[in-house]
């Protein structure tokens, strides 16, 4: 053993070790092709180091020539992988330069095997001993082959290519990378090329030590790659930390987290999330398993929300009931969004779920209370109006009795002709229907039941209320004017409750004009479109106006009526607020008050 052998063997083994490490990296992450190219470069460097040793220990000129010839193979590999590495890793460099350089290099490899003994020599005339690192090694004397200019041209192109790539990386802002990868490649390729050129052209007589320069390049690039590994490790630490923090937060907030790989139909879910839906820890979850837990009535709405999120690649937000295996019912609120990962088909939906049962129960209880109070107040107001409602019902009854009596009298007198009787019967039928409608309306208002929201035309509500208050208005000597907007869009509402609100406002308007002279008593009910999203219904009176600041009239137990309980407006407001609307009052500039409510229009195309 001597120093040369030790150093070159070390270069080779260091390069091979690095190559092995990066091959393994590539093996586990096939997308890490830069690591594969790096491994190829390191291996080629190791092989070339072997070739150099072979040259230094050559016994004959022929053996030396063979060693030089075979040395071109690892050089080609190294060359091509270096170009590939720059393109892949630095994501820079002009491709025409890359292709030209690789083409020339390939040409020179072919020529290397065409010429004898190789690309660099026409003939090796003699070997001579020189002293190198205190050792005796051989170098060759010979006639240089001018074709080796092609190889050297390819190296020049390589340097230009790398320098150009490094400049664009520098301009991109990755200055350290430009220097360590680009700079080291340029420097050591130039150094290695200059040395071999001097040797092959017979200007200096030293052994070829290009592998040392190549190893420097490998080391620089290896360092760069290892930085990536460190970065990845740091990121994964950070990720683990933040994941832990998130888990803690999620646990504390009772959040279940989940990811659904839509294409592969796999669901990952945290322990909490599984517990929420009643799944065991280790069962495999997919979409159909989740759906099986959802209450059948809520499945369609949930599927719609998922479809919407995937189609718009946007937010997912829904609430649904879950039937647990033990038969209990649980309300789940889920929020998330749809993302694309990797290839365009990799759609994932990720988000959180939370148990909203308690909230839902509270909401239901609130609604029930509101419904009960609203019902009581409805019954009360209908009770107050019982007299005028009876009158309203009396009219068709009177007409029926009169017409039927008329018919009987015609018959008794023998003057009953069929057309006359038919017209009497027709009137009886239509008045009977009218009476039935009045009763249906009253029954609707007295009915105690869950609210039913459906598309409602507020003009119909106005029509219904006019039917209730017409007689009342007559008795109070109050003119009643309806100004409905015929183009009014629909709102989503409980008809009876909105009718109740309007009834309340109209009766209040009557009350406000109790002290006014009959000729000035007038109530105007008007419907109109407030904006593209809101409809307004207003009740205007010509009474004394609001006696206090507007706010107080909505307070419970505050009443300006002598025998009022003060519940009416408070209930009206709570009904309107529950319909996502707004109830407000103001004094009109020319006397009297105007109370109005706004309700949201049903969004177009949101019918499902």
């Amino acid at each position: 053993m001597n120093w040369v052998t030790i150093i070159w063997a070390m270069i080779a083994s260091a390069c091979l070790t690095l190559a092995l490490v990066h091959v393994l990296v590539w093996w586990h992450r096939p997308e890490a092709r830069a690591n594969l190219l790096f491994a190829l470069m390191a291996t080629a460097t190791a092989v070339f180091a072997g070739c150099e040793l072979w040259m230094m220990r050559a016994e004959t000129p022929i053996a030396f020539g063979t060693a030089v010839r075979w040395g071109h193979v690892p050089i080609w590999v190294l060359f091509v992988s270096l170009v590939g590495f720059v393109r892949l890793y630095l994501r820079a460099g002009r491709s025409w330069l890359a292709w030209t350089a690789c083409g020339l290099r390939t040409l020179s490899l072919i020529l290397d095997f065409v010429f004898n003994p190789n690309l660099n020599y026409r003939e090796i005339t003699a070997l001579r001993d020189v002293s190198f690192l205190g050792e005796r090694v051989v170098v060759a004397d010979g006639i240089p082959n001018s074709w080796m200019l092609i190889g050297q041209l390819s190296l020049l192109l390589l340097v230009i290519f790398v320098a150009d790539a490094a400049i664009s990386v520098w301009q991109r802002g990755d200055r350290r990378q430009a220097l360590s990868v680009g700079g080291s490649i340029v420097f050591f390729v130039v150094a290695g090329t200059v040395q071999t050129m001097l040797i092959f052209w017979g200007i200096i007589h030293t052994p070829i030590t290009a592998s040392v320069f190549f190893m420097a390049i490998v080391a620089a690039m290896g360092y760069e790659l290892s930085q990536d590994v460190f970065r990845a490790a740091r990121l994964s630490d950070d990720l683990r930390d933040s994941e832990e923090r998130m888990n803690l937060a999620a646990e504390a907030a009772n959040l279940g987290m989940w990811v659904w790989d839509v294409v592969r139909d796999e669901v990952w879910m945290t322990e909490k999330g599984r517990a929420l839906l009643g799944f065991a820890q280790n069962t495999r979850l997919d979409a159909s398993a989740l759906i099986s837990r959802v209450h059948p009535e809520d499945r369609e709405a949930r599927a719609g929300a998922i479809k919407h999120a995937i189609e718009t690649q946007g937010e997912y937000s829904t609430e649904y009931r879950v039937l647990l295996p033990d038969g209990r019912l649980r309300w789940i609120g889920a929020r998330g969004h749809c993302i694309h990962v990797g290839d365009p088909k990799g759609i994932r939906l990720l988000g959180v779920s939370i148990d909203v049962t308690a909230q839902k129960q509270a909401e239901a209880q609130t609604r029930q209370h509101r419904e009960e109070i609203a019902h009581l107040s409805r019954v009360a107001i209908m009770g107050e109006m019982a007299g005028s409602l009876a009158h309203e019902l009396n009219q068709p009854l009177t007409a029926i009795v009169n017409n039927a009596s008329a018919g009987r009298r015609f018959i008794a007198k023998g003057r009953a002709d069929l057309p006359k009787l038919d017209s009497l019967f027709e009137a009886v039928v239509s008045d009977g229907r009218r009476g039935g409608e009045i009763i249906r309306g009253i029954r609707g208002m007295m009915r105690k039941g869950e609210e039913v929201r459906r598309p409602v035309n507020l003009n119909d509500v106005i029509g219904g209320v006019l039917g209730f208050v017409r007689s009342d208005a007559l008795e109070r000597h109050c003119a009643l004017v309806a100004e409905p907007d015929p183009e009014l869009p629909l709102v989503e509402a409980d008809l009876v409750q909105i009718q109740q609100v309007l009834l309340n406002l109209v009766v209040n308007a009557f009350e406000a004009m109790r002290e006014m002279p009959p000729a000035t008593r007038r109530v105007i009910i008007r419907s109109e479109r407030e904006s593209h999203a809101l409809v307004r219904v207003s009740v205007r009176d010509f009474g004394t106006g609001l006696p206090v600041e507007e706010r107080r009239i909505f307070d419970r137990f505050f009443s300006t009526k002598r025998e009022g309980m003060g519940m009416g407006l408070a209930i009206a407001r709570s009904i309107i607020v529950a319909h996502s609307g707004e109830l407000a009052a103001a004094n009109a500039p020319d006397g009297g008050a105007c109370v109005h409510f706004l309700l949201p229009v049903i969004a177009e195309g949101n019918g499902g």
Binding site: S388, Q395, L397, T398, A399, I400, V401, A406, A427, L474
Partner: protein
């Protein structure tokens, strides 16, 4: 039975006023009630006019013959009771049958005190309404007849000279000729002449007839001294 009698009387009065047929006015704001009332009255061949409000009714032509007003209490604008009051204030005598869907006893009493014929809560029996209407028409006819007699008797009295009218008032006061002469300080003969003219001009033969005419014409007997 009462019904039969009423109908009888109605026929009687209509025959008495042959040339002027009775007419019923209906005022109700509810269209189906209005037309049903018209149907009911058609069974008795009454002439009917219907109105939706008091104002419409007031704009009608006044009827020449007997008439009656079937009036709803609850009306937009001027209501039934207010219309009754207004008619009374303007001195227009109208026989009114009130109908109401929402009436109470005080309201009924008030209406009756002001001279309403009847006050019927809706819905009512056909014969109730028809007999009330028949009564109202009978009263209206009677009024007309009375008003006609007054006109006629006053026309007869208008033929007298002031002196003769003075003698007329003393005769119906029950004074004898000589007492009248003493009262007027003229001879008995002169009084006899006046008396003969009065009887001749008025066209009666007895003092009793003179008294009846005076009553119809609304002429009070003369107050006289006790000489």
């Amino acid at each position: 039975m009462e019904d039969e009698e009423n109908r009888g009387s109605q026929r009687e009065s209509s025959s008495a006023m042959k040339e002027l047929e009775p007419r019923i006015f209906v005022v109700d704001d509810d269209q189906s009630v209005r037309t049903s009332l018209a149907n009911l009255f058609a069974t008795e061949d009454y002439a009917v006019e219907i109105f939706a409000s008091a104002d419409e009714y007031l704009a009608r032509l006044p009827p020449p013959g007997p008439s009656c007003l079937v009036l709803d209490v609850q009306l937009p604008g001027l209501d039934g009771l207010a219309l009754q009051r207004q008619l009374t204030e303007e001195g227009k005598v109208e026989q009114i049958v009130f109908i109401t869907g929402h009436g109470d006893i005080p309201m009924g009493i008030r209406a009756m005190k002001r001279g309403a014929v009847d006050f019927l809560p809706k819905p009512f029996r056909d014969d109730e309404l028809l007999s009330a209407v028949a009564l109202a028409l009978a009263r209206s006819a009677e009024n007309l007849r009375q008003r006609g007699e007054v006109v006629e008797s006053r026309a007869r009295l208008a033929k007298l000279t002031p002196r003769e009218f003075e003698v007329f008032r003393l005769i119906i006061a029950g004074l004898l000729n000589k007492e009248i002469g003493a009262e007027l300080e003229v001879s008995l003969r002169t009084i006899k002449t006046h008396r003969g003219r009065v009887m001749q001009k008025i066209g009666v033969v007895s003092v009793a007839e003179l008294v009846r005419l005076a009553q119809k014409a609304g002429v009070a007997p003369a107050s006289h001294g006790t000489k």
